[in-house]
Amino acid sequence: MEKRVTFNERWLPYFLVAPQIVITLVFFFWPSGQAIFQSVITEDAFGGNTKFVWFDNFVHLFSDPGYFDSVRLTVAFSAMVASLGLAISLLLAVMADRVIRGATFYKMILVWPYAVAPAVAGVLWGFLFNPSVGVVAWMLSAIGIEFNYVVNGNQALILVVIAAVWNQVSYNFLFFLAGLQSIPKSLIEAAAIDGAGPGRRFWDIAFPLLSPTGFFLLVVNIIYAFFDTFGVVSALTSGGPGQSTNILVYKVYNDGFRGQDLGGSSAQSVILMAIVILLTFVQFRFIERRVHY
């Protein structure tokens, strides 16, 4: 889309785009270029001697079973976060769409988690499940379940999933609610007159009409689970115990800053960038299609 009416100025437009372009070049293109550059060289520990090694860093990475463990973990983790997050928020949105009294109150509470930083959300859930004082851990032990996320890897993963889903529920909820409220009431009423019960009305009418919103949210949630959960993992488990919550975005940081493995970390960065670009592309293709609905 283009404007028909434009202004004629020679230099002004360059001044106007300059701040954004300069910032983008310095803090986006330069580091991204560096990541690509560092992914094909090796450097000794003192930052001296750099050597061009072609794709050795990638070969090294791909021959490391630890990396594939992290890939598998991240995929499973994202699947859990996205499916649980979408299911819970859809249920809540459908209910909030039905009620008349108290809807504002429910909505006000349900948007709170959005305002909580992932790193703080991690601290909150860590407190609830703390093995010695956590109130939820205490309740679980009262019914015979010993929950200790500090030593048990599976339990640590479950806790990270819960905290990540909690943090993202508000966002999904608001989009589903907006989607539900844009469905014409006449459609629902017509189905009701024809004798369709609430369940039938939801699955046959509302659910298919919500599918564009649902698909959009699916992509957003996968991106969220892949990248924005860094704070949750860092605050709760630091990737542990062992490697049980060491998802890709945490591994990039851990290998780069703690392990000082710049080449390996950069190779991981390059792969992650490719994943984001791919996901963004999928999303845009989809949004373009949605415009034609």
């Binding site: 404007k3 202004f7 930083a117 790193a119």
Partner: protein, 273 residues
């Protein structure tokens, strides 16, 4: 039935926040004996005052929270205002002017969309370090304002502004900047407000970036401080103080979300289009 499910949902969602509040109202001794209370006590103001003026239990590396809260406020405002200012003028240039390299600039901005800083964290740190911007407000703020979402929002909005307005301004001999200040900017008020809410929260929630580039306590932000203190292994953790800190760390964005809910929802839905 609907109310029942909603009440269960709301209770589960609100429970962590409630427990944070409760923990912040008790003394350290009570918070160390399980089962911990689930109803508030009477030490809220004492705990809040202590963390605001002294930080977490006087440990090394603990910072009075009034400093970190101020830093978070500066960072969140800086990110929100910075992002809005640079992107509104670049969107203006891209929509209302024809100039060589326009499409190149457009794509250069476009490609930054969605690429989170966590992904290229090591090299970005290197760049900021070599520019001497560690431990500074510009270092905290500027790398985060390189993102395309706001530019896109303004571009969409400008494209929907009727052409007659620009035409009239041209006929009357108004300069482009005059048109921008007197017509376009006032018309963008609601978009700016919506975007401001979203970007403020985004800036406030930052964790990894401030964690990496600040080494001086006077530049710590509140989110990273809370998380750091939680990770310090303590013989006798002061849960009451830690949760008082967490409470203060989430208060500003929660207030923004609750009191500016209309702008918030609008901003959320629009930035994703």
């Amino acid at each position: 039935m609907s109310h029942l499910i909603l009440i269960i949902g709301v209770t589960v969602i609100a429970f962590p926040i409630w427990m944070t509040f409760v923990a912040a109202t008790h003394t350290q001794e009570i918070m160390l004996k399980p089962p911990v209370p689930i109803w508030p006590g009477t030490h809220l103001f004492e705990n809040i005052k202590l963390v605001l003026t002294e930080g977490y239990a006087n440990r090394p590396g603990s910072v009075p929270l009034y400093i970190t809260l101020t830093n978070s406020m500066i960072m969140a405002l800086g990110v929100a205002i910075g992002k809005i200012s640079i992107s509104i003028i670049s969107a203006f240039a891209i929509v209302y002017f024809r100039f060589p390299l326009r499409m190149l600039f457009f794509w250069a901005i476009f490609i930054t969309l969605m690429l989170p800083i966590e992904v290229r964290i090591v090299p970005t740190y290197g760049v900021v370090a070599s520019l001497g911007m560690l431990d500074s407000y510009p270092g905290l703020i500027i790398p985060l304002i390189a993102s395309a979402t706001a530019t896109f929002l303004f571009r969409q909005f400008f494209l929907s502004v009727p052409d007659e307005l620009a035409e009239a301004a041209r006929v009357d001999g108004a300069s482009p900047m005059r048109f921008f200040w007197d017509i376009l900017l006032p018309m963008s008020r609601t978009s700016i407000a919506a975007l401001f809410v979203i970007q403020f929260i985004y800036g406030w929630k930052q964790y990894l970036w401030p964690l990496l580039i600040t080494t001086k306590e006077s530049f710590y932000t509140v989110v990273m401080t809370v998380s750091r203190q939680a990770n310090v292994v303590d013989a006798v953790p002061a849960w009451n103080l830690l949760m008082a800190m967490a409470l203060l760390a989430m208060l500003p964005p929660v207030l923004v979300v609750v009191f500016m809910q209309r702008q918030f929802v609008r901003g959320l839905v629009e930035t994703e289009k």
